[in-house]
Symmetry: D3
Subunit: 291 residues, 6 copies
């Protein structure tokens, strides 16, 4: 998440406009008041999005000041203050909901990711995300996943190639598919193969895949498979192979996550923090309203 | 959700571009193949977004045909086919993830809404949503909420006015706040007051609020309060009042939802389907890949 | 008109670009001069748009300073100074025409509205606008209408529902039409019925319309009709009706406006300030040019 | 107005979205009905915008068919049918107001222009417009001006250069200003000088202006001035001058327009059709609603 | 190139986003460092684009300061410092490539133009560009051409009219074509005719063309033709002609450019600086990297 | 270059609008004519962009038909016909220049690339591009480079990481820099190091770089260096290294390109086809104009 990317500002603007529409009707009650407010965690979890929130309010009014009290990706406890704001009341109120919606969603993802990551502690396996992200929010949701301790998988269809069953079928086999992609893809782009069976995985390694996704295989199967795949890579070296392959398990049953983690794979990928996590509950409270 | 609104197409385009980026690297394996595929439910739930999915694929290639097999807002069972697609393989693959992400998110909301709505069956109380929606998806998430049987609350800050504690404090009291908003708001816009206490609710009705949101009150308190508020409205009629007020409970503990539903209120509002529902699991399967 | 809405800035930018195109050819004569200028009213009327003008010039160059001398919606007399500007000459000249075009159009609307509103003085009837607005300028033209003392009708098709003859015909009657809309519309959205005859008006009130637009009826007809409609509302209360209906006359002959105003209706709606008002004549004069 | 310019479609889309917002709430009453409608003139005048209207409806739904019955720039009488439409009812209704607003505004301009142009009949003087146009509509309003028989002045600041009093003051005299602009402007761009006095006009011709705008001079003054200016041009030829100058009167009192037209000038420029013309009244009537 | 045109900022933003994409991956190494850098010419040539570069970096971070050391359109020698920058390292690095790409391209055009212009020194003939420009960069490339000492031809299809062979054929002859265009074009727009033969050139002058482009004719042919064309103009004056025609040669063999320049024409137009010039080589060097 | 990416259409539209502006003034001569035309190569070279050209014309008018006669990336000889078009004359003329500008630029790149690639024939070294591309055209220029037989380097800052001298300095050494980037980058993103000296190259391989760019080293130095680097990789395998490194030479003197190609490196990268290639000359000829 580059905070200086112009594309980010266009997104922030469009999200603000989505809520403001033709103008905040209730704003007429705020006259030209100046206000201050703070954010407080109503649930424990991992907070992220503070700098985004700051920029979002600045888009409405440069006179708004935001003081962050919790670092990106840091844990907050119930009742903990997250940030303080002050500025023109009308702009504070107009940005409130959009800012919270964004931060609550991202913090929810970071929190869920963190929980999963903690189950991998002590292993060298890293948790990776997928392309199952909310339309329009991919870069930010992937940022939140990193804040929770995970690592990102490819950003999109243009980042790395991934051969799936259907690509292989249409191309007429894994070798043809691999060759076609290798020929056109930028050289820094890795080529990954999604394998449904151990045989496909071995074949993938043989044709030179940079990564193999072992999809919906049991950890027992994977445990047997990994050494074989590593060996093919080593052997392949003498034939000009890459000497390296990243092995990733997907469709992992959360109950057996540690068992998977001990199979020798590099990554476990999961969409759960994006598709199944609740938002982290955060409130914005205005100081005057307490008086 | 007006399918003919040009704004919808701009959104569909930007979501497709988010995944496609500088081009689908794996597409090189697809040559000029033509393919067919279908969507299948991997979980039971309420499906919605079919027409959106159709339009999304048409944005990529007008030669793609989508045949919807499940109506909007209809229940699907595990294994049920949802829709069939056929067209140029490269475009089918390029749209797959974005289309699924959208439909899975919306169907997840519809499913969660439907569950809550069913708890209100037999009552005249309706379930309403809130402004807690994913940035960029408000109109579609609110559409999904309707597909699940709920009713929408205001679309945004410009749709209806809602006086909260801070507005009242800044304006110098509820009467001043109400008058300021009434003076500037379009006449069809209702003015709603969020009340934290029964006294505030009574005051809100007295100044002529079109709706009162009873926030985080117990159902026992509400049960006593509702008849009082209705009576103030009736009485107020003789003084030029509106003769009508919508009463809404928010912050309702789900365990007591039916108790709330029997208090005489009109709406129970909830953000849960947007902030706490998992996506409905749906797969896209290519026909050739089975062969 | 929320001055902090990002959408406003995009509009200001596109209007500036419309005039500037590939660059101000005459700007080459201005070198790096600094200039000052003022705006002067060449006609009496209601001025509005001052803050917009300030923001518009700031979009060109933050170094431009604008000092407003007339408040929004205030009356100006011939020769009165409206605002003063100073800053880089090239930017002042590049923004001059666009700024004037905007302010002259809006002030023309405010002036025409004010004249009509003054004819309603002493009555409780308010003047409302319509959806007849210049494409691209609706929010600002409606703001100008408010500056002139009027009140806004719905912002667009998504703000409130309005059943017209054709909706009723297609839906198969007013009850069916009303029910269909009620079922899908957000609860804060009012449902208005446009009635061509007294019978339709009565029917509209009976089905629970929040507002009835009495279209092109004589004031005599309306005078008789209003008490009947109010009575239906009162009676309806016992049957669960709303107890409230807003009555609006449209297609009013300006000569009889006060007669209409005494019929007991709430609003008279008119598109005249948008469709028939001349721009208010304003000039921008550069100080150096006088020397 | 090039109907194939992509920029036009972006404008049509944004105008449709302005009215449709988050969706036409009343559309729920229209189910999947198909409808037909026609446009009828409620005032006599010059119609224009038919092809725009067709494209605007096509942007909503390609299934809408529009049959134009009046050519661009042709006169319509009260009650005359202008065009017929048929297609999905929801899209017809959603586009109705935006289409009418556009065509009524443009036809109002064309009508007012036509009236002024008719006063110049029998002379070789042409009526030209100005840069006083509604922000966002310049190209289309200038098109309407042409439909009414006028000719366009420069499209914007980048089309031709126009030296005004302030440019000359800042540049340090007319010669310096002219030279600076001539040096940087594309060669096809004409340089016009706005003259406040006969002396300035003569000076402008001497430095080689392609056009001189005689601003707020009486027709008597102009009558004397024109032959002098033409002579300077002729004489100048021997010194490398252009041999051509366009003379234009602005700020013309409409009562004396024919007197101005007989002074030998080439153009009379006026902003009146843009700043003072009422919209041409047109209605859209649905066929089913008559049944 | 108006540096205050909002359209320019949208372009700068989109170019930055093109390189930054979903975020600078290498930026993680830069922590919160502050840096300084300078630009140095690796080739001699004409530099331009300095103010653009400044604005481009400011779009990323207002905290970046740029100090220009070479004026627009000035010659730089190998090793000469062009500008200095300092600011947040991450933003400096993120803008580096885009800024250089822009300035190197524009400076390459200015350099090539300057070389050609120098061949015309001592003559009154000016070098003009064409519409052969890189899509998306026309205004800036034409600005670079001016920086190199050239003059711009028309900006686009809407700036001046140019009748080519096919227009004349479709319209049914040069007179019909000329009349059709004259009738609809804004009066300040010149009408130019592209002539393939001397006969066409004479005809063009007779119908009143403001300019004639003598395409791919030898300088001998042009030398004979020019006096004839000038004479027709003079003669035409008595018949209401314009008294002026701009004569331009295109398709000129660079070896004979001075011969063409002595034929009496006004302009030689060339696309070579846009279609055949190499970029000017410039490097950005970070001060810390030298330490 | 995915022809179905919505982003492509927005680019095509903006390029068309750049030339069309407020409308093609000369189009008035074309009435409603229908025309046909063809493209002919005026130079030999590699043609590319045919499908883009087809889509570009379709954006103007779906009634235009384009028949491609030369495949993407195929060689054309002088006089060879490239494609045929037919459709409404006004749209053909309005798109002509933009389409040619695009195709000529891309074909020029493909042609220059092809020449360089042919110098590598018989070796396994591939020619790679850089991030020196025209702002706004990166994806298409990289596509052209592929059409010429080259392979693409990273698309942008978000595709792969590249540590340069300054990153290493700011991070406090190559190991720290590498670790920081590895921690945050998506796992499929490779990390490349730009080495100025053999020592840096060795260090880069030791920390685990996926690629090393050997910048401005002589081929003699590289010849000695490559085996060392390969050995470090092999050795590193036992310590958990990747077993693979891509070696790339940049800043290669074209005279010694084959010498570089025999050093054992994988890629030679060059910006020359983007920064120093002339456009391929192509003409569009209208059939009627020949008659």
């Amino acid at each position: 998440m580059d905070l200086f990317a112009p594309a980010l500002y266009r997104h922030l603007d469009s999200w603000l406009d989505e809520d403001i529409g033709r103008g905040d009707l209730t704003g007429a009650a705020l006259r030209n008041c100046h206000g201050s407010a703070y954010w407080v965690a109503k649930q424990a979890g991992i907070f992220c999005g503070g700098q985004l929130v700051e920029r979002l309010f600045k888009r409405l009014d440069l006179a708004i000041n935001v003081r962050l009290q919790v670092g990106e990706g840091k844990r907050v406890s119930v009742g903990q203050h997250i940030l303080e704001l002050e500025g023109p009341a009308a702009a504070l109120v107009a940005g409130e909901r959009t800012a919270l919606n964004l931060a609550m969603r991202l913090s929810g993802i970071a929190t869920a990711t963190s929980t999963l990551v903690s189950e991998l502690s002590g292993t060298s396996v890293r948790l990776a995300d997928t392309r199952k992200t909310t339309p329009g929010l991919r870069t930010l949701e992937k940022y939140a996943f990193r804040c929770g301790g995970g690592i990102n998988h490819r950003f999109g269809l243009d980042h790395a190639a991934m051969l799936k069953e259907n690509h292989i079928a249409w191309a007429g086999g894994i070798e043809a598919a691999f060759a076609a992609v290798r020929k056109h893809a930028p050289w820094p782009s890795r080529i990954i193969v999604e394998a449904e069976t151990p045989e496909q995985a071995e074949q993938a390694v043989r044709v030179g895949a940079d990564g193999v996704l072992l999809d919906e295989m049991s950890y027992q199967v994977i445990q047997t498979l990994v050494p074989k795949l590593r060996e093919i890579v080593q052997t392949g070296l003498s034939r000009g192979g890459s000497g390296q392959v990243f092995l990733e398990a997907s469709g992992v049953d959360p109950r057996f996550i540690r068992a998977y983690a001990s199979t020798g794979i590099d990554f476990i990928s999961t969409s759960a923090p994006m598709t199944r996590s609740p938002w982290l509950d955060i409130s914005m409270r205005f100081d005057n309203a307490d008086a």
